[in-house]
Structures are given as C-alpha cells and as structure tokens.
C-alpha cells in the first residue's frame, strides 16, 4: 500500500492543460488534407473512400473534399500529387453541421461548406448559447456502438480517464440519463432492431 502511494506521488499529474495549452501532434500525424490553390488537384479515383469529388462548370474544375468520408490515409498527398495536396496536422475537425465538413476548391479560390460560413459569421453564436442554455456547464453522454471498429471506443475511454472528466463531461449507462447520445458512424442491420 505504501509503495502504491509513493509510486502514485512520483507519477504526479499526467493530464495536459489542453485546450488552454494547445496540443501539438507528432510530425507524421495525418490530419485534414489541405489543397493547394492553383495546382493540379488529384482526380476522385485517387481516394479509396470517395471523399474527393470533381465537377466541371463554366468557372472550371471544382474539386471537392468531404472530410466526413476521409479516413486520413494520406494517399492523395503521395506522388505525383504531393505538390498539390499536403496533409495538415489540424485535428480539431468537429463541426455542428454535416455541410461544414465539405470543402471545395475551384480555380483559385477555396470554399468551405456554406453553412460553415454563416455560422462563423454570426449564426454560430446563438447556437453556442442555446447549447449552453440547454446543457449547462456539464454534459452527460451515453455511448452507443452501432458498428464501430472499436478504435473510437478505446479513444473515448482514454479521453474520459485522462482528461474529459475534469472538464465536466460524464458518461452514463442508463437509457434515460444522457443529454447527448454519441453514435459512431454507421448503423448495422443488427442494431436497427
């Protein structure tokens, strides 16, 4: 028992002060792909998950990237496209709306989802205050795995134990308790029962 106390004291606090102190991911970390404006962007078939799309109109070739479909494999930034696409290290990719995850590049300009532009301009503020009003300062979550690969289950466990609990986020087991249900990506036929 004494050894355990000594070991625990020696270990000290291991959690970080994120988000007050930004977290810097490793050099090789693969975050959102970044399209370089004015370069020849890769065709859709480069992407194994169909996250890259293209269409032609009077203004030229539009190349779209859907971050919700991206699995961050880094293939679009490999040769010969490494000049046109770089893999960014941005990992804070949460969005309030599905359209916010769509990015489009046409000719020399870059557009992100229309909804995102509105939210950022001013629509974001009321949404934020509404969330605060309904949920207060602590959030009770319930996790329902409807067909994950278990990576998110493991990461959530790590989040909770290492940082989230001290930020007022708690996980709940009972069906009536949670304020927010978190359902990772797909829904299998089995879970529709």
């Amino acid at each position: 028992m004494l050894r355990i106390l000594v070991n625990a004291l020696r270990t000290g606090i291991v959690t970080t002060h994120y988000p007050a102190v930004p977290s810097v991911p490793a050099d090789r970390f693969r975050g959102a792909p970044v399209f370089r404006l004015g370069s020849h962007l890769p065709p859709p078939e480069v992407c194994p998950t169909g996250a890259i799309s293209e269409r032609l109109d009077a203004r030229g070739r539009h190349v779209g990237l859907d971050l919700a479909r991206c699995v961050f494999c880094g293939r679009c930034a490999e040769e010969p496209w490494s000049g046109a696409v770089t893999i960014g290290r941005d990992f804070e990719l949460a969005a309030r709306c599905r359209d916010d995850l769509r990015i489009e590049v046409v000719a020399d300009e870059q557009r992100v989802g229309v909804a995102a532009l509105e939210l950022d301009a001013d629509g974001g503020a009321p949404a934020k205050s509404e969330i605060r009003r309904v949920l207060g300062r602590s959030l009770h979550l319930r996790h329902l795995d409807a067909g994950s690969c278990n990576a998110c289950d493991w990461e959530l466990t790590a989040c909770i134990q290492l940082t989230m609990q001290k930020r007022g986020v708690r996980f709940f087991r009972a069906r009536n308790a949670p304020e927010l249900e978190r359902i990772p990506f797909n829904l299998t036929h089995q879970r529709m029962e």
């Binding site: 355990i4 490793a26 067909g147 036929h189 089995q190 879970r191 029962e193």
Partner: protein
C-alpha cells in the same frame, strides 16, 4: 491438425458454378505432442507463480502449411454434412455459413442463426454473388431469439447488454445461474456485423486494403499486414528486408500496447484501480509513440501492399528505445504491485479456467491458448514479417499451464517483455534499403493468398482470391476472437457471476473483427 478457418466461395463465374466450402486446417504445433514432459525448469518460474515457461523452436519442416478440405455444394439444394461434432471449432463457422451463404449444415447440434439477427429476411444470403452489396434489406417482424438457457427451481436468467455500462462494444450475454454460480452462458454477438467482406468484393486490391486495415481498431496493423501478405502472395513478390523488419517492429508494438492495456483492464476487473490507471498510462505513452512512428495512434498508414510507407529514422529509433525502456520499467513495477497484493492475486487465481483439451478442441488462439498450455504462435508456425527470412531471430513462445485469469496475465507480461526484446533485436538488424517493392500493374486473376499473422490476441487467418481483373473476388478474415469467444463461455461457467467481467477481460476479445 487444428482448424485454421472455414470459408465458402460462390463460384458462379467459374466452370463448376457451384458453392464451395473450404475447411482450412493447419498442422498442430509440434510442442503440443509431448505435453506431459515439460517441467518448470525456467528460472523465471518461481517469480511467476510457477506458471509460465518458455518453449523452444519447432522443426522447420512443419512450418507454414495449410491443408484445405474442399466440398462442392449444389446451389439448388445447398446442404452439407456438419463437421461440428467431430471438429468443435467448426461450430460458429458452420452457423455463419448457413446465415450468409444459405448452406445448411446437416446434423449441426445448434443450428440457430449466428450472424444475422431477428428481422433479417429469410432466404437472403448476403455473401452470394446474386446479392448486391448496396441493396436495401427490409427489417421483418420476428419472434424473440431462442436463447439457450438452463431451467429448474432456483435458476435465474440474467440478461446483460448489448449496450453495456462502460464504453465497450455491443454484445448480449444471457447467464443462467443458481445463486452466484454460472450454470450456462449464451453469448450473442455480431451486433457490429457490417458485411465488410462483401464491401471489399470488386474493389481494387489497393482500395480494399484500407477496409482491411480498418476492420478492427486495436488490430489495425496486424490485419493490414495479413491482408498485404496475402496480396503479395498472389502477386508473387516479397517485401524488401528493411520493410519486413519495420513491419515486425510495428507488430510487436501493437502487441505491446494491447498487452499493457489488457493487464490494466484486468486490474479493473479485479477492482485494483492503481493497476488500471497505471496500465492506461503506459498504454497511452505507447500510443503516443505510435503516432510519432506511423502518424496514427493505432499504427494505421504504415504498412502498404508491397512494403511500408514510412521509414524508421535514427531519431525515431532513439524515441522508440527510450519509450520501451520506460515501458519495461513500468510493467515490472506494476507486476510487483500486483503480485504483492494478495486480494488481486486471489481474484485472478483459478478464476475462469479454460482446460487444455477445451482450448485444443475449440482451436483457441493466442494468449488464451498459450495460457492453457497450447503451444501455438503464428510468428513461428507461419513466419511473417522479419520472421520470414533465412536467419530469423529466435522467438520465445511463452506458455503456461494454469488456464486461469492469472495464467493469462502472466503470459501477457512475459510476452510484453519478449516484444520489447524483439524490437531491440529487429532494430539492430536494420540495414539501409528500399521500403516498397512494386506489385505490377494488375494482379493475376483467380489466385488465392492465405496468410496467418500473430496479432495481439492470437493468430488471424486471411484468405483472399482475385477475380479476372485482379480485383478482390472474395476475402475472409478469421480473427483470433472468433475462435476464442466460445472459450470465454466455457471459462465463465467455472466462475461466479460477479467474476464474469474479470474473466471476460482476461480474454479481452474483440467484437468488431469477430463480427466484421
């Protein structure tokens, strides 16, 4: 002979135009022949409660062979005699075949549905070629699933799940118990069946790789590697030596972070919170190192068909060496605390016993098999990565005889130390050289690749066949958890209900790669 996997193929495009069942067997490891003669002569034995011992290498002649029993089935009247009563490990395989291919295993002792659940329409078989992968399947009203339960005076039925209290994957457990004693456990899984094997059909072998790598989070590397080795077999190429070493390093790192995390989780099952927190911390540091190495905490994006995408620079080797030194010290210190804590040892000892014969009959894999005295390890029996070279490094296969939760924890501990030693050995062998070998424009059609990878939880068997265009025609993964789940139910029946979480955690099986 042990059952490696069972899978079926729809040969509609081939001259036979039938359904084919393939029972793939592998030779039993030679270490299992003269079991009784092993003694606890190992110097570590006392320290580890006299349970764990090392086993030396087998004769090379028995290495890396598969024998396939091929059965042709008429699609008009699809049925075949069940082998389950003779080969118990075929049980789930045959139930799955009935669900997904519509082949009836005649004489199967338990022909209930396994993969498809209530509401899946009758007569729709998703792995037949006539079934379109994107077609919408309606949910039909269905009767309640017939759980296998015991009945009698004072017998209680306890349903648990499929949604659990913690953040874990879904599975339903139906216990029948008298008092605290478990009489029977009927586990119902496949809630996360995404038909990934169907999804991969028709994709190019490269595009399908990204699916294989994502079947399961914590085995991302092992499953990615198994798929790549099957592709390389079909293309008749070998990854360059440097790539093979980097693959083996990553495979050991995956084993290490899983084993360390599992030791912590077992502490959670035994209500030893210091151990849980320490395990989590050690695991977290290893995963942060994974990110520096592969750009991903689950080691995704490192292996690729033909080799590896990223090199191991000298700087990274230094980070690796330091982290592994710290991990070794951390594991040693944690195990000292566990062994000195009689309440934890008492919970683990003789809890959830899996007998040697049951482990053999069910063809259990990995830690669960080795902790019950079954000497099998795919790194030795089916050499892959750096073990598939002319002078492979020596590998100590750790086995124990207890078959209880403590034996599984000890096997994990010794294997974690062995993994650290192996990584050092692989790093010393690194020579400059190419990382990838070209696979050629299109892969040859109609060829089969089989690979077996020792993932953190045991041998995973990958079976891949290409179509005329060199795309994926059929892919099947038999994960170690697939063979180990029935063993959990057996082990649980030797325990009391409150110990089930501990028994379950001592196997630490995976739902997503069982369900696919």
């Amino acid at each position: 002979m042990a059952l490696a996997t069972v899978m079926e193929t729809d040969e509609k495009q081939y001259p036979d135009a039938d359904l084919k069942m393939r029972y793939v067997f592998e030779p039993a490891a030679p270490g299992n022949e003269n079991k009784g003669e092993r003694s606890a002569s190992n110097p570590d034995a006392k320290r580890n409660h006299g349970r764990a011992q090392h086993q030396e290498k087998p004769q090379p002649s028995e290495v890396d062979r598969f024998v396939t029993l091929l059965i042709s089935v008429d699609p008009a009247s699809p049925e075949a005699p069940s082998l389950t009563t003779m080969v118990p490990a075929a049980n789930w395989h045959e139930r799955e075949m009935q669900d997904l291919f519509g082949i009836v295993p005649v004489g199967h002792p338990d022909p209930r549905a396994l993969v498809v659940h209530d509401g899946w329409p009758r007569g729709v078989f998703s792995l037949r070629k006539t079934f379109g992968g994107s077609q919408h399947v309606p949910v039909e009203p269905a009767a309640e699933f017939p759980h296998l339960v015991a009945e009698g005076e004072g017998v209680f039925e306890i349903p648990v799940g499929p949604i659990h209290a913690g953040i874990i994957e879904p599975g339903h457990f139906r216990f029948t118990s008298v008092g605290e004693t478990v009489l029977h456990l009927d586990a119902r899984l496949f809630y996360t069946h995404r038909a990934l094997e169907k999804r991969m059909e028709g994709l190019s072998t490269l595009n399908a790789f990204y699916v294989a790598e994502r079947i399961c989070g914590v085995y991302s590397f092992a499953h990615g590697l198994g798929y790549c080795e099957a592709v390389e077999q079909i293309a008749s190429v070998e990854a360059p030596p440097r790539a093979r070493l980097i693959r083996s390093i990553a495979l050991e790192l995956e084993r290490l972070y899983n084993h360390v995390g599992d030791i912590g989780n077992m502490c959670a099952g035994a209500a030893f919170h210091y151990g849980t927190a320490t395990g989590l911390l050690l695991r977290e540091r290893l995963q942060q190192m994974n990110e520096r190495l592969a750009g991903n905490r689950f080691l995704r994006g490192l292996v690729i068909p033909g080799g590896v995408r990223l090199d191991l620079s000298d700087d990274l080797v230094r980070v690796l060496t330091t982290t592994l030194e710290n991990t070794r010290a951390g594991v040693d210190s944690l195990m000292e605390r566990i062994e000195a804590n009689s309440s934890v040892v008492d919970r683990l000892d003789e809890t959830g016993v899996l007998q040697y014969q049951a482990a053999v009959d069910l063809a259990t894999a990995g830690v669960a098999a080795r902790a019950s005295g079954v000497d099998r390890d795919a790194r030795r029996d089916h050499p892959h990565g750096a073990f598939a070279s002319s002078a492979p490094p020596s590998l100590n296969v750790v086995t124990a005889s207890g078959g209880d939760a403590m034996a599984r924890m000890m096997v994990r501990t010794l294997e974690a130390r062995e993994s650290i030693r192996l990584v050092g050995e692989f790093v010393r062998r690194l020579e400059p050289g190419p990382l990838v070998v070209a696979l050629g424009k299109a892969l040859p059609g109609g060829r089969i690749g089989i690979s077996a990878i020792e993932s953190p939880r045991g041998e995973a068997v990958h079976w891949l066949r290409t179509d005329a265009d060199g795309h994926v025609e059929r892919y099947h993964l038999r994960s170690p958890s697939y063979h180990n789940w029935p063993a959990v139910a057996l082990a649980a029946e030797t325990a009391i209900v409150p110990d089930f979480p501990l028994v379950n955690k001592s196997f630490e099986l995976c739902y997503s790669c069982t369900d696919r």
